[in-house]
């Protein structure tokens, strides 16, 4: 398989161009993508226009649609904001910290035979510029900004792109299918009809 020459991206735009090249091929080299995302040094002025926060919960802000091969988005986490436990609908998921820190807790898929809740497998804190990777065969995860004083911003790449995923209730292992929406796209706020969050956990 062709190995794309991996040069450290000088800017976010550079990173996006490199990702387009990498994803031209049909097979994804996970290590390459993780390495290139990690080597981009976060520069706030390059991504600030995508980083739109909501007071009440974390936001998803679409940056690039990757020629249909991937979705690149920026997630903004206020103090205490966290996600549900969720899967990744058979896609690759890369998560890079642009600002602040996020706690990632890993879970196994719930076993219907075992009564009661899901227990965590492991957890770690992702630091600025670190890039994590997960897919459904590795397991499920919950991502949280546990800080009460700092916000967090993360860059996510999903390949192939997906619009729905499953969220899991840790207490019971019960799951729901949820549709994912964007708070903004390409720097423009894209409001959605507002009702109950699908990710209450």
């Amino acid at each position: 398989m062709e190995h794309t020459e991996l040069v450290k991206p000088e800017s976010l735009e550079d990173l996006i161009q490199t990702l387009h090249k990498i994803f031209e091929s049909d097979r994804v080299n996970v290590e390459d993508v993780q390495s290139i995302m990690e080597s981009y040094e976060s520069k706030p002025h390059e991504w600030m226009k995508y980083a739109k926060f909501d007071q009440y919960r974390y936001t998803r802000n679409l940056v690039n649609e990757g020629n249909g091969k991937f979705n690149l988005m920026i997630l903004c986490w206020g103090e205490g904001h966290g996600s549900s436990i969720h899967d990744h609908t058979d896609s690759h998921c890369f998560l890079k910290l642009l600002q602040g820190q996020l706690k990632e807790t890993l879970f196994d898929w719930p076993d219907r035979r075992l009564q009661g809740g899901m227990t965590q497998k492991s957890q770690r804190v992702l630091l600025e510029n670190q890039c994590a990777y997960i897919n459904d065969s590795i397991g499920l995860h919950r991502v949280e900004n546990v800080s009460h004083t700092e916000t967090a911003v993360s860059l996510h790449l999903y390949s192939p792109p997906f619009q729905t995923c499953r969220t899991f209730d840790q207490r019971t292992g019960h799951h729901n299918t949820v549709r994912m929406t964007f708070w903004s796209q390409f720097g423009e706020r894209t409001p959605y009809e507002s009702t109950v969050s699908q990710e209450n956990n």
Partner: protein, 352 residues
């Protein structure tokens, strides 16, 4: 730092002096014009231990960020900033005696004191009647004062990451409260009066000590975000085995109330009049009964706010009594398929 003017942005009124290794005297060299023109001042990530006196010369200041310094005291000088609306002082060394006596006279709308060493909510904060947003996350608060209800304009209250063990019912008297964060505390129960928070849109209770929620929470019709992870919520309700039969006093009291017998201070000693006045009505509409101390905890599992089978609790006057929504008392304790919440209470699940 002679003649140092600092970096100003395209807007002349914003002065960014963050991350410059400034100490307590660094503001002194700014020109009077610069000070009078500045409406937003960033002094975060410096090395100040005390807010310099010269801060009071920024007479038009509306926004001040002094986060991430080593401040242990905020001097009286700040109270001269009559136009100050936003004060951010995160990650300093502020404690219960750090705020000046007249701090409450400021016209603040936003106050962020997260990441400090407060053990009590400072009384001066409770005097800021224009306050819309108050953050005291990551401090050492042990309780929330009942006087919180005086902050009539409060919309956001962030108290995550403290040592709070209970919520005063008075918190419910904040008519504009939309966002309430109480995560990462030691809260064992939520007062049923919280259902009076009609504007509440988001409630964060994760990582506490809750085993159930009050059934009254169902009336929070605008609630869209509710976090409860990391609480020991009961999954199965074990029927209360230790139901203490009512005392003779209680039985007499129940009879007096349910038969509507008139009583007054002329007939009874005052402690009995007070006792009778404290009767609680049983929520079962078919039961006209009341209870005093002897009641049964009744838990139902209800889907609410996008969450699956939350244990919601209310009291009933006796084990034989039934809850308002169900007809079969025997099945209440183990209601597995129970979904007795009326359709208009169930929130539609979001696309988002």
């Amino acid at each position: 730092m002679e003649g140092f003017e600092g970096a100003s942005s395209s807007s002349e009124s914003v002065l960014d002096l963050s991350r410059l290794n400034l100490n307590n005297n660094s503001l002194d060299s700014l020109s009077e014009k610069r000070r009078k023109d500045t409406k937003q001042l960033y002094l975060c990530y410096n090395r100040m231990t005390v807010l310099p006196e010269s801060i009071s010369l920024f007479s038009n200041l509306e926004f001040l960020d002094i986060s991430n310094n080593a401040l242990s005291v905020i001097s009286e000088d700040i109270t001269r900033l009559t136009k100050l609306k936003t004060l951010i002082a995160k990650n300093n060394r502020l404690n219960d005696s750090s705020l000046p006596k007249d701090f409450g006279s400021l016209q603040l709308e936003v106050l962020n004191l997260s990441g400090n060493r407060f053990e009590e909510m400072p009384s001066q904060c409770l005097q800021l009647l224009r306050l819309q947003s108050l953050s005291l996350g990551g401090n050492r608060l042990k309780s929330i004062p009942a006087e919180i209800e005086s902050l009539a304009s409060l919309e956001l209250l962030y108290l995550g990451g403290n040592q709070i063990s209970s919520i005063p019912a008075e918190l419910a008297n904040l008519p504009s409260l939309c966002y309430l964060v109480l995560c990462d505390n030691r809260i064992q129960s939520v007062p049923p009066q919280l259902n009076k928070l009609h504007s509440l849109r988001s409630l964060s209770l994760h990582n506490n000590l809750l085993t159930y929620l009050p059934r009254e929470i169902l009336s929070l019709v605008h609630l869209q975000e509710l976090s409860l992870r990391g609480n020991p919520l009961v999954v199965r309700f074990i029927k209360d085995m230790t139901y203490d039969p009512p005392s003779l006093l209680e039985l007499a009291g129940r009879t007096v109330k349910s038969k509507n017998l008139a009583y007054s201070h002329k007939d009874l000693p005052s402690h009995l009049v007070n006792y009778l006045d404290m009767a609680s009505k049983c929520p079962n509409p078919k039961c006209a009964g009341v209870y005093f101390d002897s009641c049964v905890r009744h838990i139902k599992f209800v889907d609410f706010c996008g969450k699956y089978r939350l244990p919601l609790m209310h009291y009933l006057c006796s084990p034989e009594c039934t809850s308002p929504c169900s007809s079969n008392p025997q099945s209440d304790a183990d209601s597995d398929e129970d979904n007795s919440v009326p359709a208009d209470r169930l929130q539609r699940v979001l696309l988002g």
